[in-house]
Amino acid sequence: IKIPRSSKNCDLTDVLKGEKVLDVVRRNHGNFTDKVINVEEVPESSTTVTAEVEGTIRQPQFQQAVGMFGYALNSGQLGPVLQQFGMSEEVVRQASDGDALGFAESLTNAERSRAKEEPKEGGM
């Protein structure tokens, strides 16, 4: 017998792909340069950090990691991981419920209030 899937579940590999997401990565390029492999450690390759950042969401290795991450989110196991990344209690709670939409909404709220608190971000 198959356990019915919760209607709150989403496929994160679907969410984190496509042109819209790639545009966001491009616009926020600086946020990701230290989160990809260090291409300078492969001096023979002609690739650049920019290319690596922009290519990441299409890489099978990344997509596999997203698959695991999404599985953990849907099964309510992502809370501790998000806590390590300093996410708010509400975000962690929603993720621990396995509620992908609730997680997305509370993360959006958190980012909104963070933007208000730091109006001069990057200005100083």
Partner: protein, 317 residues
């Protein structure tokens, strides 16, 4: 990952090549073969052996007969799960007797230490070799958080690697799951060993395709850069310039492939979680996360309904 465990390794020529280089082996590399036809693999010669990967099934009929002259074959039985990639490499490499091929310290030590052991004992020693295991495990997919591991599905594919290798005029199949090596053919005068192994593997593949079983075929070949450089030296300066240009082109292609495989191996080991978390954050900041998640939930719902409809239609038919 528990101490003493061996992780699964992706059957990819880049991973295998890097794995054997990190064991300290020189003079060989691993290439994927898409066909066993002579034209398709002649440029890779000498081919020292083949590693055939397939989905394992219990009760697979052996193709060949138990080898008689086992004292001239190095064969280790598989005692530990998931080590079969390294197991197949070792069973293959230890039977290669070629001036180009140097095993390096780690494997030479292992080979001489286990020389007089039974196949089962060799497997046990391999399972307990920390040095070999450490290199092997550095190619496993990063398992950062235990919780992120989806449970294995019921037919979680059990892939298995076996080696085919020519030894003193005969071709053997070395499968760590069997009791002993299998002799699959005799190399007659004027024949190359690949001619002997080709029908054996093709027959095996034919059996698989009926059941749509996945397989792939890797070849342990002479280090390509080494081979091309030797060819250039032999030709000398007096040779046909187009031929020299062609060899340089091939050499460049090998260097590029090396770099590409190194990048891919780095990505395999990379921790993408910080990237994913940051991506979710910026998507949230730009008010895109909620609509994207809603879209995915809706898509899944529609797919579920479609699946149910197909099932009902099938029942009605």
């Amino acid at each position: 990952m528990d101490e003493g465990q061996w992780c699964l390794i992706e059957s990819d020529p880049g991973v295998f090549t890097d794995l054997i280089r990190n064991f300290g082996v020189t003079g060989v590399q691993i290439e994927e073969l898409y066909s066993l036809d002579d034209e398709a693999c002649s440029h890779l010669k000498p081919i020292h052996g083949l590693i055939f990967l397939f989905k394992w099934r219990a009760g697979d009929e052996p193709m060949g007969q138990p080898a008689k002259d086992t004292d001239q074959i190095y064969f280790a039985q598989q005692v530990i799960t998931n080590a079969c990639a390294t197991q197949a490499i070792i069973n293959l490499l230890f039977n290669v007797n070629h001036e180009d091929v140097k095993l390096g310290q780690i494997l030479s030590d292992f080979k001489s230490f286990t020389k007089d052991f039974t196949p089962a004992d060799r497997g046990l020693v391999l399972g307990n070799s920390e040095q070999i295991r450490t290199v092997h495990n550095s190619y496993g997919r990063t398992q950062l958080y235990e919780v992120l591991q989806p449970p294995p599905t019921k037919d979680d594919d059990i892939y298995h690697f076996v080696a085919y290798v020519p030894i003193k005029g005969k071709v053997y199949e070395l499968d760590g799951m069997r009791e002993s090596p299998l002799e699959v053919g005799v190399i007659t005068d004027g024949q190359e060993w690949m001619d002997v192994v080709r029908p054996v593997i093709n027959q095996r593949i034919a059996k698989f395709s009926q059941g749509e079983i996945h397989f792939n075929l890797l070849a342990m070949v002479k280090d390509r850069k080494m081979k091309l450089q030797e060819q250039l030296e032999i030709l000398g300066d007096a040779a046909d310039p187009t031929e020299i240009a062609h060899l340089h082109e091939e050499l460049n292609a090998e260097h590029e492939k090396d770099a590409r495989q190194k990048l891919e191996n780095k990505r395999r080991r990379h921790n993408y979680i910080p990237f994913i978390v940051e991506l979710l954050r910026v998507l949230a900041k730009e008010e895109l996360l909620v609509p994207l998640v809603k879209e995915s939930i809706e898509k899944r719902r529609v797919e579920e309904i479609a699946k149910k409809q197909i099932k009902t239609e099938m029942k009605m038919e």
